[in-house]
Assembly symmetry: C2
Homo-oligomer: 209 residues x 2
């Protein structure tokens, strides 16, 4: 079994991690493990849910796939330290290095992205650019083995795109049908280009808090 390590930490956004997990955990021959600086429960950004890290960074130094979700806890992971060291070590040998939402800011701060093309939550694209990446306002961005998704729910689309690369389109389609991913959002406003300007400004102001 090849390893997919999803990094979790306190104040992550749950769906950033659980969206791709739900897709990638269904891939034959691959095993998803939630890893943390320490084992045990990590609380999400709302404080209302705990997810368990089953392994430490040291337990999985060289997963074939490393995936970094975002969330408000990202801000505490922008300084060099054990997580950055682990990400740099994992990047040396990974087949794919992935992020969802502001997880790309952590990858960039760790020196893993360099000048490659990447995306992030739409409110974080400027910061991603300041960190040296070529920031792209796209839902899923592939640049070599670096794969990044836009905000929160985009990790599902990234997971399916990656599943297609790893196991072929038939397997990816079966997973998509298995999780009945035939989205019918009630509003056509899930991106800043489509949402009404006053809603964009309200969300942007809130994100700055």
């Amino acid at each position: 079994m090849k390893d997919i390590a999803i990094l979790i930490y306190d104040r992550l956004t749950a769906l950033d991690a659980v969206g791709p997990y739900e897709v990638l955990s269904r891939l034959p021959g691959w095993k998803v493990t939630f890893v943390g600086e320490t084992k045990g429960e990590k609380r999400t950004d709302t404080g209302r849910l705990g997810l368990t890290a089953d392994a430490t960074l040291a337990d999985l130094p060289h997963p074939e796939i490393v995936l970094v979700p975002g969330g408000s806890g990202q801000e505490a992971l922008m300084e060099d330290g054990p997580v950055h060291e682990w990400l740099r070590g994992a990047e040396e040998s990974s087949q794919w290095t992935c992020s969802v939402c502001t997880g790309s800011l952590i990858l960039a701060a760790a020196g893993v992205i360099g000048g490659r093309r990447a995306t992030s939550h739409w409110t974080a694209l400027e910061e991603l650019g300041r960190l040296g990446a070529e920031a792209r306002p796209e839902r899923v961005v592939f640049d070599g083995k670096l794969v990044s998704a836009a905000g929160v729910s985009a990790g599902i689309d990234m997971g399916l795109a990656l599943a297609g690369r790893l196991a072929g389109p038939e397997v990816a389609q079966a997973i998509q049908l298995g999780i009945e991913y035939d989205p019918q959002p009630p509003f056509d406003g899930g991106s800043p280009e489509k949402a009404p300007a006053e809603i964009v400004e309200a969300v942007r102001a809130h994100a700055r808090l």
Copy 2:
């Protein structure tokens, strides 16, 4: 704060619960709590993730919203017992009673759905009908205060639809933009009507195991 209780149990499908959680936990004035028959970690259907139940059923007998996710562990919750008793008690006073995926089978088995219109994962609609519900192959079904979603990822759409009812369309749109829910699935095959026949049969055969 009004209470949203999300029931979790061993072998649930994580995204069934985390999709609506990610939406509803952002609603002003509402508080999401993950509840279980016992407190502590519940392992998901893949065995690869633990979610924490912070409260027991007895801690939250009358939440304003009760939400039941699905997953292979649903089969162990079809007999009468503490979960069914709790669901019947919660239904007496709830403002909304909700399910995602095969969570509707648990609600139906507990006697909560009766003959109302409801949906479930597409592979479970026949069983839902046998349990007395008017099973509908739709993504989100409202019947009075009963709200049900189709398989796994449909809980996100349900959460946003419910957010619109609870807090108005502006708040729901802001949440949708906050989680950047502008889905771009790589395949147009997330429902059995749209997917190729051989993929539908492969997924159906797997679901029967």
